[in-house]
Symmetry: D2
Subunit: 101 residues, 4 copies
């Protein structure tokens, strides 16, 4: 099952800054063979469900290993059974509509 995920990991407690943890997650996602697209409030990834979810679990494991004892993530998860669609397709389609308006 192909999946689109928008993933935002938030460590609680300790330092206010979360940039080091977000950077570590980018490394984890890349090491899993994914192409994470960082945006200002999360990261988009796409791929096989099991591959993507295993990488997200590894992000939790690694951020705990950095000393962060509590994590709350939010995910948006999209799947389709009618046709294949990439993350890029979704953005392009909206941009074409805006350009034509």
């Amino acid at each position: 099952m192909h999946v689109h995920v928008d993933f935002c990991l938030i460590p609680l407690g300790g330092e206010l800054s979360v940039a080091a943890e977000v950077a570590e997650c980018q490394r984890v996602l890349r090491a899993a063979g994914l192409e994470p697209q960082l945006h200002a409030y999360g990261t988009n990834v796409e791929g096989d469900w099991d591959q993507v979810m295993a990488a997200i679990k590894e992000c939790h494991r690694r951020v705990h290993a950095m000393g962060r004892m509590r994590i709350s993530s939010t995910l948006r998860i999209g799947t389709r059974s009618d046709r294949h669609q990439t993350l890029a397709d979704k953005v392009e389609r909206v941009e074409r509509l805006l350009a034509g308006s």
Copy 2:
């Protein structure tokens, strides 16, 4: 890794009502040995990461099998490395604070 998940599955297209699909997800989660707590905008479950995530994947699979071709879910995922905490613990702690105030 013990996980708390708040899961809200939304089928796109077709019927406006999503109650049948939400009910089906409750059945899937129970069949996976979980104890889903339905609330008005999602369902809370807790358990081993792999068990919970496999059940959520099965929810997507089953809702697609019901003829829904596009699904967008949102998850809040909580993990802790400092101590074990149940879903009930979280609610009780806030209610005790409210009762004492």
Copy 3:
């Protein structure tokens, strides 16, 4: 516009526990005339869009006033133009389906 909101406020940094802040938000929502329904990973409220959103803004303001310098909330927001539906309606409808199955 009538709105259903599932609201989860997370203060970043400092103490790991967020129970005091969640309790304070319950007080803010009640003081705004709402009937918050606390669950294990958030709080459901319903009402007029402006009333609900003003109360959520006040939650951010009050949690900052408690000394929490950074907050990240997640909201699910539901609106319908076809008919009125309460938070309780949504849960009852799914429970009836489960009872009948």
Copy 4:
């Protein structure tokens, strides 16, 4: 209060495609004086709390006016009381960490 919002609006029922509705929201956000940053699973905006939230309410109103009778949006909302931070700051900080690693 300055706010960062990641906003994802999903119309339920009817057509599977939501591109027209997402495009309309971009127009609404721009018309409100905001600079929406579309990504593959939502849109980031920043600005004054009241201005941003009024624009999001207008998105719901406009998508209902397009004939979509049910909408479920998800928002991530970030506020800070310690210092001003832009959406661009957040991405740059992570990218610097990744470049230096």
